[in-house]
Symmetry: C2
Subunit: 282 residues, 2 copies
Amino acid sequence: MSAPVAVPRLSINRWTCRTTPLQDLLEACVAEGIGGIGLWRQDVAEIGLDALRRRVDDAGLAVTSLCRGGFFTAADPTDRAAALEDNRRAIDEAVGLGTDVLVLVVGGLTREDKDLVAARERVVENITALAPHAEQAGVRLAIEPMHPIFAADRGVVSTTAQALDIAEAVGSAAVGAIVDTYHVWWDPQLAASVARAGESGRLMGYQVCDWNLPLAAETLHSRGYMGDGFVDFPAVTRLVAGAGYTGPIEVEIFNEDVWATPVDDAVRIVRERFEQLVLPSA
Amino acid sequence: MSAPVAVPRLSINRWTCRTTPLQDLLEACVAEGIGGIGLWRQDVAEIGLDALRRRVDDAGLAVTSLCRGGFFTAADPTDRAAALEDNRRAIDEAVGLGTDVLVLVVGGLTREDKDLVAARERVVENITALAPHAEQAGVRLAIEPMHPIFAADRGVVSTTAQALDIAEAVGSAAVGAIVDTYHVWWDPQLAASVARAGESGRLMGYQVCDWNLPLAAETLHSRGYMGDGFVDFPAVTRLVAGAGYTGPIEVEIFNEDVWATPVDDAVRIVRERFEQLVLPSA
């Protein structure tokens, strides 16, 4: 069997094959020429930081990001302090894994407190409190704008422009945005916002998957292989490339059908779709 | 039994009680002091324009809007011409019903054509073609920004700012936006956009319902009674009032549970929630 041809830029997010043992996923990546992996804090908790780092190193993969910090919207001071402490640990874990990108999902509302403006202000305050630790650690905080379908329960930052506004309000070069096609493909201001992210040095990552319809019963699991839904990948990828982004591109799919697919097949499909729909425009 | 106290500003959208015979809904509105109703073209098709107008007049209600024109995104010239012709009929129906507001749901993408930018350009072109007929008829075209959850299959206009950009590109005073809490509550630019709509004379309606979670299996049916979900009604209503809007406020709920509720109960809950959460800030 010949050695696989390395696929430029491609990284696979751990959650794309979350039900697969890590070692099997790493081997499937190596077999397909995939050189990067985005990890989750659950992996750290399960395997341990050092052992996790060693396994990924041994496979020859780079860790392209750590998911995730955030959940900054609690109004209660005790909850707020706990969130900040947990985020500092997440920064340290990113260092330990050899990645300089920590993805932030900022958190949502509660039925008891529907004040969206105040929740968004708390996000700014908490990222401001966190930024010095990130700067010292050499880790970048990549705010992930979430699709407005998740504004109530998961992420009150809904657009790339809003993420950049927060980064500028914080005033740290360590804070920026990650562009995830699932969350931002619909944004009428996407072209301008991605360009602005590039110009300001705050474009910290690019994640891809498709917007599938009908939505899954668990809407978070409606992410699909590129090409299965409605996202115009060449168009969005051209925006990201035009903004000067040359970093890894993570395929991050949450999908029950993908999780039920043998890992070798899933990783092969990821590579094929990436080569067809993303890489030519990257 | 004493006569009901009229509830200022409140209108009920026909679809809130779509499974109820129209006459029963009209009588329930009269009993609760509700003075307006938003109708659908399906009502016109079912009852006939003149008979429909007579029934609503006899009940003493005002028609506050007609839903809906739009579906402008087809690329095929024959489909495009048919859509324009159908929209001209919709304008005429609005006139026949005595309302000057036609709500536009602009249409989505297809799996064969995912070019979002081009679809949005066709929306501008088609509303430009439609505007003269609306001006002559004295009907305002109220573009309804749709929640991005519907960008793929129903409405490629996702924000109030985008609707206003389109109205300005068309260049007709007969084109503007309608604010529907379900669709726009999450928008980080909502305050600025609603103010802009008011300043430019393009704030053409206000519809309310809540963003319920979990989403219904048919996501379109996740609209809830005000107070059941995550929308901050006083906050959004203050924005609309601050923009100078003094027109009717339509309660438009699509919800299987509401449709299964006896109409008198549903209309009473609508009135109560409106009086609690919307009217004090309107």
